[in-house]
Amino acid sequence: MWRYAIPLVLLAVIAAFFYRGLALNPSYVPSALIGKPMPEFALPTVTDAEAKLGSRDIAGKVALLNVWGTWCVECRHEHAFLLKLAKTGMPIYGLNLRDERPAALDWLASLGNPYVASAFDPDGTVAVDWGVTAAPETFLIGRDGKILFKHISPLTQQVWQRAFVPLIKAQCGAPDPGCPQLAALGAQ
């Protein structure tokens, strides 16, 4: 009777999903904000407590928002690359997470400051709005202020080329004040 074959069929289906599952990463959670406008915020900066950095300052151009902290060991690994990027004219804004100002200033002074400005978020409230779980995380923001991409873990040359550049090129067909210099990017 065919009904005795049901358990075997069930096993085959489950095994197929398991086989597929071996190639997936169950801990990787993509950002829920892709395609949505970036969360509005206004925070004091790390360097100057009087000055403010907010979503309004970032809007209108293709930019990166990089989440960092002095407690974050992995952030050191991407710092050199961020400095290189900044030199090509790519605007990088920082979100300094769960940190203390003196330590953060020290870090920027000794390792270099790739950021146009860094927002100071000691209790992570703004980070929650951005769906940040830890550092380092880097967001790519489009000209219209929408979030195009989020990368978790240190930003490297390969990730930049593979994931970020195509998205920037898609936004920036022709030269535009809101776009970074594509030639410089292409040379990276």
């Binding site: 829920a32 100002r101 992570g124 929650v128 779980t133």
Partner: protein, 138 residues
């Protein structure tokens, strides 16, 4: 010199503020029960399958604080969960949304029960027609 004192004060104040990092539980038992229910239903986005109630991760502490703030502002349970899922995705909801992607999930136990009942009746009907057989010793 004044700059140094200013920085020192900022640091001191910042540390003192940090001491109030964990908000006390709600005095109102109903709110307290809602708070605990919610932090158990929200998944820590970073951890190996823990709710934000049980996790020691900093992001979990931040999220608990947000839940506390939202409840204090009078938001409903659904609004709190919406806040979380709009930022971290449905991944952080331990109670899956009832949506087309989860219809099969929510329906499955009931469908299984219906199928099981049909199987039961069919087998019973067949067996009632069969002879009972002689009595046997235990």
């Amino acid at each position: 010199m004044t700059r140094l004192v200013a920085i020192a004060l900022v640091v001191l104040v910042a540390t003192a503020l940090r001491a109030a990092d964990v908000e006390p539980a709600f005095d109102d038992p109903a709110l307290n029960a809602r708070y605990w229910g919610l932090i158990r239903e929200i998944r820590c986005p970073l951890c190996m399958n823990e709710s934000i109630a049980d996790s020691g991760a900093p992001v979990a502490a931040d999220l608990r604080r947000e839940v506390h703030r939202l409840l204090a502002e009078g938001k409903s349970d659904d609004e709190v969960k919406e806040f979380m899922s709009s930022r971290y995705g449905d991944f952080v909801l331990y109670r899956p949304r009832v949506a087309p992607v989860t219809y099969a999930l929510w329906a499955s136990p009931f469908i299984l029960l219906v199928v099981g009942s049909l199987v039961f009746w069919r087998i019973l009907r067949n067996r009632s027609k069969q002879p009972l057989g002689e009595d046997e010793a235990s």
